[in-house]
Subunit: 258 residues, 2 copies
């Protein structure tokens, strides 16, 4: 089961959601593979602050068609990570027009899934995208069984959500299917009327595609990257941990996560 | 005086800062030109929710080398706006390798400044960038006299700030100068120790390049786009308005804004 965590709007909680949904899943005994598809490598930096070399990152999938099993590294208590690298910024210009480049990640993940050993094997794959709809994010959308769209609880983010809906609709002829999607309200501050307003407008626009679970604005979530951890490891009883646990339950119960 | 409001990290307050610094300047009698260089057009959407056609946007500077004076529209109480359009997403792939494309915006703004009429004339030009270091943001950096780098008061944003510093250093040979820069802490929450930690780390890293003024987390700032306004017009006595007014004072006093 592969989920692209995508929103071209910046700073809405994509990286945070990929990390903490993986952590929630791992705590339920599901093996997780995290794929960092952002040249800024924030997810990778939470695992290892210095990062890896370009040829040990997913950049080499594009540069050398390197098998993903050679790029997978262990993420203790979470599962696996395929790290990013700053060189990924060149993928659009160097390889953007290459043959079937748009399916490169999908092919790589399919091959990884057929391997007979344990490395990189996962029940759930979460792909963290950058805030730009280029070759990398398109790779994620084409490889995904579903798209999880974090939307921070503010007006500019709401406008971004409407843009994504149009993008997914425009991609349907090429994807040859309607991609299952869930919109997840993040940074939800119950003391602000704006938060409720945004949730209401999202439900009006996208109905059952909007998660009932919202992720609360919670300082534990923002602090955990500083100590190289997910929110469960950093503050297991925090509101943020509870919300991501509730999110996993909802996504499983509603069938979005098989 | 042209300022690129840039940070490849998403959601740090670039658009918010471009808008509200322009509003603070306008209230001091300075004429402002806002340039929206983000395909997601958030700044433009605050002016007009439906946006303009591609050929009336800055996309046509790249597609047809259209004179900027033909694209400038009035922004009551603020000054002028050159709007963006979703088509800008194609600039990297369509025109990225064109001759001298990197100076297209600079040339356009130089030409605009020589015009004898009032339209588009400004004391201060603020260029709102998208969270991606491609042809558009490079155009902004090459056109700018200085770079204003909003950094939200959290750890992942701090890491982004370090990346920008390396980027600006790497561009120095090409830019042929060291670009004056200011780092601006945004979404600063005084109740969180994290905010102070981030500010302290930023000052250790970047010293006098870090603004003393910080922009407080303030719901008025987040609400103003919903009503098509800047924070001064929406809530003149709010903390957000006060902070952006203080920011303008500091940038002028320190000589960053000539
Ligand atoms: N629920 C929350 N409560 C508090 N802080 C949060 C929450 N969600 C995210 N943050 C913080 O907000 C910042 C932005 O989140 P994050 O980096 O995950 O967004 P993103 O969409 O991945 O950004 P980008 O577009 O730059 O990749 C981070 O510092 C993160 O720690
Ligand atoms: N000081 C603040 N207090 C409260 N909300 C804020 C503040 N600064 C920004 N915001 C809100 O945070 C969200 C992100 O800000 P903004 O869109 O300006 O960032 P950005 O860097 O331009 O994002 P992008 O990378 O997507 O272009 C917006 O909804 C904005 O209204
Ligand atoms: Mg991210
Ligand atoms: Mg913006």
């Amino acid at each position: 089961m592969r989920i692209a965590v995508f929103n071209q709007k910046g700073g809405v909680g994509k990286t945070t959601t990929a990390l903490n949904l993986a952590a929630a899943s791992a705590r339920h005994g599901k093996r997780c593979l995290l794929v960092d598809l952002d040249p800024q490598s924030h997810l990778s930096s939470i695992h290892t602050i210095e990062g890896v070399e370009a040829r040990a990152s997913i950049f080499s999938l594009y540069q050398h068609n390197r098998p993903l099993v050679e790029l997978v590294i262990e993420w203790p208590t979470l599962g696996w990570l395929i790290p990013a690298h700053a060189e990924l910024i060149k993928v659009d210009s160097l390889f953007g027009k290459g043959p079937n480049i748009i399916n490169r990640l999908k092919a790589g993940l399919n091959e990884l899934a057929t391997a007979t050993h344990d490395k990189g094997q996962s029940d759930i794959t979460l792909i963290d995208c950058c805030p730009f709809l280029g070759v990398l994010s398109l790779n994620a959308l084409f490889a995904a069984d579903g798209v999880l769209i974090p939307v921070s609880s503010d007006h500019l983010s709401l406008r971004g959500a409407q843009q994504i809906n149009r993008t997914l609709t425009a991609l349907e002829p090429v994807l040859k299917r309607r991609v299952p999607r869930r919109y997840l309200l993040t940074r939800y501050d119950r003391r602000r009327r704006m938060s409720q307003d945004i949730l209401t407008q999202m439900q009006t626009l996208f109905g059952a595609d909007v998660c009932t679970t919202v992720i609360s604005e919670n300082v534990a979530i923002a602090e955990s990257p500083a100590v190289g951890r997910d929110v469960f490891a950093h503050a297991a009883s925090s509101r943020g941990a509870q919300d991501y646990a509730a999110l996993l339950d909802e996504l499983v119960m509603s069938g979005f996560i098989a």
